[in-house]
Symmetry: C2
Subunit: 189 residues, 2 copies
C-alpha cells in the first residue's frame, strides 16, 4: 500500500559533494552539497545547487569555476564540517587541516586528501526556487593512484564514497555490487 | 599521488532513477537515468538529463510531467532493462510485467512495484550538450507503507536502493550508516 508524504526530497542516493572554490583574493573555501549529480556526457558535465547566501555562490560568481571533491568514509567528519560551518565566518581549510591545491585546469582548489577530484568550469545557471542550480563542464577528473583498480580507473571499493540520506541525515556507505548494468536486463530484453 | 584522467563523469554516487512518462495517447514508458539528482528544497525539485532522441523526451514534452521511481535491489534486472530497451520499439511495461499506475497528482505513471515514487511537473529545461537537463518540481512523494521506519518515513535499509557505478557499469548496494550528518562535524567546528 502506497502512502503519500507530500512534496519531499526523499530521494536515494544523493551525493556527498565537497565543492571547492576561491574567492576573488584566492582564499579557498569548501561546502558540502547533497543537491547535485552528473548532468551531461558530451561534454561531460555535472550540476550542483547552492543557496545565494553561501560564500561558495559569491566565489563561483567571481571565478566561474569550482571543483567537486569526493571524500572517502575516513573523512566523514571533515565532510560534515564543511556542511555545518560557514565560509563567511570560518577558514574551513585551516580548521580541518585539509590541503587546498590550486587546480591545474580551473581557478578552484582541489582537496588533496580526498581521493577523487573533478575540476569544473561554469556552463550555465538556473534559478530553482531558493537554490541556484549550477551546471559545470568537467575539465578534468583526478584520482589518487592508489585508489584505482587494475585498469587505472577509480575503484569504488577503495575510495569508499558515501551517500547522504536525506530522510534521516545519515551518511551511508556504498557497499557490494548487486549486478552488472547493460547486462542484467538482457534477460528481460 | 594524483593522476589526471581527463574529462570523465567518474562521480560517486549516481542514482538509478526509473523515469516514468506517458505519450500523448496515454501509453506508459520508463527509462533508466543515472544523470540526475535533487536540485532544490523550496520548492522541492529534482533534475534528470535525457537525450533528445529518447521516447521519454517526446513524452515529457507532450505532458510536462514525469515520475522518478526508485527500485530496490530485488528489481535490478527490470531497472537495467529499462536502460537498455527503447520505448520507441518496445512496450517496456508489458515486457517487465511491472504495473504503471496513473499518478494522482501529475500526468505520468508511477511504477507500483517500486517502493519510492516521486511525481514531478516540469519547471524548466536547459541544453547541456547532448543531453537536455530537465528540472522537475516535486508535487508528491509516495512510499510503500511496509518500507517506512518507525517515524513513517522511507527506510533506506528496507528500500535497499542502488547506485550506478559510472566507472565499471555496476549497480552497487547502499549499505551501512557511517555517521550522522550535522553532528559528526561538530567535533571540528
Amino acid at each position: 500500500m502506497k502512502k503519500s508524504l507530500g512534496a519531499k526530497t526523499y530521494v536515494f542516493p544523493t551525493p556527498v559533494f565537497i565543492v571547492g572554490t576561491y574567492d576573488e583574493d584566492g582564499k579557498p573555501n569548501a561546502m558540502n552539497a547533497a543537491w547535485g549529480g552528473v548532468c551531461g556526457s558530451d561534454p561531460p558535465a555535472l550540476c550542483i545547487s547552492v543557496r545565494p547566501s553561501r560564500k561558495t555562490m559569491d566565489n563561483i560568481k567571481a571565478t566561474g569555476a569550482f571543483t567537486v571533491n569526493i571524500p572517502g568514509q575516513e573523512h566523514v567528519k571533515e565532510a560534515d564540517y564543511f556542511g555545518i560551518a560557514s565560509g563567511h565566518k570560518e577558514d574551513k581549510f585551516k580548521k580541518t587541516g585539509l590541503t587546498p591545491v590550486k587546480g591545474d585546469k580551473v581557478n578552484a582548489p582541489v582537496i588533496d586528501e580526498f581521493p577523487l577530484n573533478i575540476q569544473c568550469e561554469v556552463m550555465g545557471m538556473m534559478d530553482v526556487g531558493e537554490h541556484i542550480h549550477i551546471v559545470g563542464k568537467i575539465i578534468d577528473t583526478m584520482v589518487d593512484e592508489e585508489k584505482t583498480d587494475e585498469n587505472g580507473v577509480p575503484d569504488i571499493k577503495k575510495i569508499k564514497p558515501m551517500t547522504y540520506n536525506t530522510v534521516t541525515n545519515d551518511y551511508e556507505a556504498i557497499g557490494n555490487t548487486v549486478a552488472k548494468a547493460f547486462r542484467s536486463g538482457l534477460e528481460i530484453k
